[in-house]
Every structure is written in C-alpha cells, then in structure tokens.
C-alpha cells in the first residue's frame, strides 16, 4: 500500500541524509529488512494515532535542531559505584574514556567492530526483537535505528555479572545526530545490570534489544538529564523467557523532547516484568512521553507499569500504556499506574491507558490520576517548620516514591533520590 504523499515525502527527506554502513557484515540482512520496513511504514506523523500527543517533527527532520551542550556534571551519576564504564561521545564509542570491558561472566563487543566478527547470538537477535515489536503498532523510528545504527554494544551475560555495565552518553557537538543500537542477551540463570546516563547528542535515537533466557534477570536503571535542548527517541524491546525477570527504571529531568518506548513480550511462563519511570518537567519547552506496550503470551506472568510525572511551568507529560493479554495467558497479573502531579495550571498530562484481554482468568488493573499538591500534607510539613519550598520538594519525592521504589539496589535508589533532591532545590521558585 502506498504511503500518503506527505508521509512519503517526509520519509524520503529523512532517508536522504542516511547511508547504510559500507561494510555491514552480518548485520546487512537485518539492516536491509529494517530499511524495507521503514519504507513501508513511513516516518511517524502528527496524524498517526500513536503520535497524537507527541509531535515527531524534530525526530524526523533532515537535520537535528541544534542543542547547546552543557558542561558535564562534576560528579556524574553512578560515579561512586564499581562498574564497567562504556563511553559514547556524540554516539561514537570512546575507548580511551571507557574502562576495559573485561568482566567475568559477560562478553562485551562494540557494534561498529563486531560486524565482521562471527557472533552468532547477536546475528540472530539484531533487529529481530525490534521487528517483532512492529506489530500491532508501527515503531518506524526503531526500524530506522536498526537500519542505520552507527555504533552500540553487544552484551552477552552467561553468569552473574559482578558489577553493572554503565553506558555513558556524552554530548559535545551542538548538531550531533546519534543512532545507537545495543543488543543484550541474558543467558539462562544469568544476571546483568545495565546503567545508562547522559544526554548523548543533540538528537539521539537509541534502540536496546534485550533477550532474557529462562531464569535470567535483567536490571536497568537510566538517568536522562542535563541538556535542556536535546531530543531523544529511545526504544527498549525485551523478550522474557520462563521464570525470567526484567526491571527497568528511568529518571528524566530536562530535555526538550523525550519519547521512551518500552515494548515487552512475556513469552515464557512465570516471567516478571516491571517498567517504571519518574520525570520532572519544568517549563513549556519540556515534553516527555512514555509509551509502553506489554504483551502477556504465557501463563502466570506478572507485569507492572509505574509512571509518575511532576510537571510545572507549562511542561507536558504523556503516557501511553498498554497491557495486551493474549489467548491462553491465564493467571496473568497485570498492573499499570500513571499519575501526574501538576504544580500549576499551565502544565498538562495526556494519557492513554489501554487493556486488551483475551484470556478469562486474569487480574489486570490500571489507574491514572492527575492532581495538585495535597494541601493538608503540605500544611502538616510546614507546621513542623519546613519552609513551603522544601515541603513541596518533599511532597514531590513522596509522589514519585512508588516509581523510585522499583529500583532494587539500595545504593542506586539512594543516589537517585539524592540527585532528585538537589535538582528540586536548584529548581525552586
């Protein structure tokens, strides 16, 4: 079916500036198939139902909107942790700034160098989970990523990783347009934690495919912040095997435009998938979109979606979350909550929660609220001598607590809360 003219034109314009790598090696078939998907789907447009609340124009323009690069934080997040750092500057891996990727129980290979190596597991996965995630809803930016990614990492965990792998995305050039694609395989019984932080580029398109085998565990904690002007479209595609676990938490502050999509497929019985996010938006130039799609395709799986947004001074928050329970996915336990705390009347929260259930013995619940700060609680705090501004900060931390508590590591959770407190203190009015 031919694309509408406007979509066709937009797609051609976006593709005009992009080239498949000269020597794609084993990624070639996946990239060519992805390019074909992009050409068939076209770039997202304002009229697409899935983009009703978020204007994709800045994601598909031929060149990115320039983004001022802000000085790096003196002490980057996760700095106190023992971890393997892999640094990307404007989307290019920087070996000099990175740690030696040798980590017991984990194989780490740079995508740009892996294409002529024989890495079977990655060849089977690269673009595969992304392709599965294109139905029933099209995600053209992810297909674009698979086709044109210039770098990324391939990580295979075969045992319990003794420390986390930290992907650090530094931003230096005001016009950088980065496309990174990571493929992660957690083998049976293995356990891996991935940390991500940094603004990455003026425009950042990132895909992370995560395949978790039977009994495997994958933890993901991401901090998006710092650069006010950056635009980021990210996708996580996760497939969970039997009795495996997936936990992802994202903290977002700053950023002109962010769309974080998370597509989870519970493919084996007794899997557990939790995806959570907290965002702090300040100003009319802040737009944050969480789009989540969880498919239950096995029995007795548990899924949780917990998203909290604190919005003020005209900030916009979006949540599109779906739980799809396929026929036969009995004893599914699905939960979804999306809430916003609106600190003024100029901010807005746009929500589309969806449940679609084809099994008859399931427990699924979802809820969405939008509200102002609780005056009674605020008075309680102030009556103890806490100044209004500090009391509001405490109420904000209270509001997002349910999402932050999804982080399993005490150390990471404490650091995130600490950073949030400081962010709030800096943004007091």
């Amino acid at each position: 079916m031919a694309l509408p003219q406007a979509k066709q034109t937009a797609t051609e314009e976006r593709l005009a500036g992009l080239n498949l790598p000269a020597a794609p090696g084993w990624t070639r078939p996946a990239r060519e198939a992805a390019l074909a998907r992009v050409q068939a789907m076209g770039m997202p447009g304002r009229r697409d139902e899935y983009w009703r609340f978020t204007n994709p124009a800045d994601f598909i323009s031929a060149v990115p909107v320039p983004a001022t690069h802000h000085a790096r934080q003196k002490v980057p997040v996760f700095d106190g942790m023992d971890r393997v750092r892999l640094v990307f500057v404007d989307g290019v891996f920087d070996p000099a700034a990175s740690d030696d990727p040798a980590l017991a129980g984990v194989e780490i290979t740079r995508l740009a160098e892996a294409q002529d190596q024989d890495i079977h597991w990655a060849a089977e996965l690269y673009g595969a989970l992304e392709a599965r995630g294109q139905s029933p809803v099209a995600r053209p930016l992810a297909a674009l990523n698979t086709a044109f990614a210039t770098d990324g990492v391939l990580i295979r965990a075969t045992g319990r990783a003794e420390k986390p792998v930290n992907l650090i995305y530094q931003h230096e050039s005001e016009t950088s347009d980065a496309i990174l694609h990571h493929v992660i395989k957690v083998e049976a019984g293995a356990d891996l934690t991935i940390l991500e932080n940094g603004p990455a580029a003026a425009r950042f398109n990132k895909v992370m495919e995560v395949d978790i085998a039977e009994g495997g565990a994958f933890h993901h904690v991401r901090v998006q912040g710092r650069d006010h002007d950056r635009r980021a479209a990210t996708h996580i595609f996760a497939r969970l095997g039997r009795e495996s676990m997936f936990k992802s938490f994202t903290m977002t502050a700053n950023g002109a435009l962010t769309r974080n999509e998370c597509v989870i497929e519970l493919a084996g019985d007794d899997g557990v998938a939790h995806v959570a996010g907290a965002c702090l938006g300040d100003g009319a130039d802040f737009h944050h979109d969480d789009t989540v799609f969880v498919t239950h395709d096995a029995e007795r799986c548990e899924s949780r979606q917990v998203f909290k947004k604190v919005l003020r001074n005209g900030a916009t928050g979006v949540f599109q979350g779906k739980i799809l329970v396929r026929p036969g996915a009995q004893k599914t336990d699905g939960y979804q909550i999306s809430q916003s705390l609106l600190l003024d009347e100029d901010s807005q929260f746009l929500v589309k929660p969806e449940l679609e259930i084809y099994a008859d013995d399931v427990a699924c619940s979802h809820g969405s609220t939008s509200g102002a700060i609780d005056e009674t609680a605020l008075f309680y705090l102030r009556s103890r001598g806490v100044p209004r501004s500090e009391a509001v900060d405490l109420m904000v931390l209270s509001f997002i607590a349910e999402a932050v508590e999804e982080i399993e590591s005490d150390q990471i959770r404490d650091e995130i809360v600490e950073r949030l407190s400081r962010w709030l203190a800096r943004h007091r009015r």
């Binding site: 005056e375 009674t376 609680a377 008075f379 309680y380 705090l381 102030r382 009556s383 103890r384 001598g385 806490v386 100044p387 209004r388 500090e390 009391a391 405490l394 109420m395 931390l397 209270s398 509001f399 997002i400 607590a401 349910e402 932050v404 508590e405």
Partner: protein, 251 residues
Amino acid sequence: MLEIKNLRASLEEEGKEILKGLTLTVEAGKVHAIMGPNGSGKSTLSYVLAGRGGYEVTDGGATLEGRDILAMEPEERAAAGLFLAFQYPVEIPGVGNMTFLRTAVNAQRRTRGEEEMDAATFLKEVRARAKELKIDAEMLKRPVNMGFSGGEKKRNEILQMAMLEPRVCILDETDSGLDVDAMKLVADGVNAMRSPDRGFLVITHYQRLLDHIVPDVVHIMVDGRIIKTGGPELALEVEKNGYADLIEEAA
C-alpha cells in the same frame, strides 16, 4: 506566653464565623485544657493558631512571647516555638520518618539563625527520645505515619514535639482513637516535657486524658468562646454532668 485576645475567625469559603471572640492566656510552665462539645470550634482554634489555610481572622489576635503569630507563615510559627499535635496526623508515603524529622529540626534551626544539628547528634537524640515513647527503629525508618496504628501516629506526634522542643504545645484531641495503654504512653511523653518555660494547651473532648496529663487550668469552650474557666475540678464536673448545665449556666 501564648496570649489570645478576642479572637474571631471564619471559614474563608462559607464566611461562617467559628471563633467568636475567644480570649485565653497560657502562662509558661502551665498546662491549660480546653474542653467543649463537638462543633464548639476547638480544632478550628488549633488550626488558626498554627496557620492552616481556609480560615480568615476577622478580629482580635494571638501572640507568642509577644510576637504576632497570626502574621506569620506556618513554618515561621513553628520556628517561633509553636507546635500542634494533629488530631489526624498525615501519612506521607515515600518520605522517611527520620528524613522528615531531621529536615524539620534543621529548618527550624536555620530560621532561628542557629547551627544545624549534625547527623550523629540527631540520630542519638532521636533514638533516646523514641525509646522513651516505645517507638522502635523500624517505625523510624518507615515513611511518615504510613502503616502506623492510631497509637503509633500519636506517639510519633509526641516524638516530633520532643525533637522540636517548642515553647507552646497545642495537643488537638490527642486522646482520640487511643486505648488506655497508648494514652498513658502519650501522656507520659507529654508530662516528661513539662517545664517552667513551656506552656501546653490540651484540647480534648473527654476528661480521661486529663487524668494522665493533669492540667493547671480548665476552660470550657462553647460556640467559639470560653464560657467558663476553673481548676481541674471543672473537668470532673463535665465528666459527671456533661456540658448542658454549664451551657445553661452561661446563657
């Protein structure tokens, strides 16, 4: 210490007058009790003094050690030495009890231009005071008032009071929802804080709390005013005969 003069206050939205010219002085070192039937304005008095929104003071005033507290923000009143133990302490998920207490203690110190309490001293103080109130370490770690029983919530109020060391403590129906043992714990906590330079205003519906916190002065409040003032025997009289006789007598 706390002087309330001819205080008149209305609900902001409905314009309904609740306090109708209330006058009362709590001296340092004394415990004053206010008793009264439901709807007499006892809780409103505590809220107006502590600075809760939704009320309009139309006449009169209130001073704490000579300072006009009604002109202050709630946090300034707290720093000036006023403490209100809530009838219904508020639950605040996600904020640890300790974090909250420490934030409050240090915020007050900053407002008063004093040095903040360091973490070690704070911890020592909290633990000592919590122990007296039979508040265990687990309760201190939990989010503020979350999952606390009625008695635990009230003990937590007294713990806050003990840590903040106010000049004037207002206890709003602190006995409500407490069994005898819990009430005794709370009363012991309050009695331990009685001192020559601290005043108490104990608001209660029933006399039983006053068996444990023995007041120096008892006021009977009806329809937004004090209609009678006396010694502890006045509380016993209310317990025996109810408020009807007193109301009639005053009319």
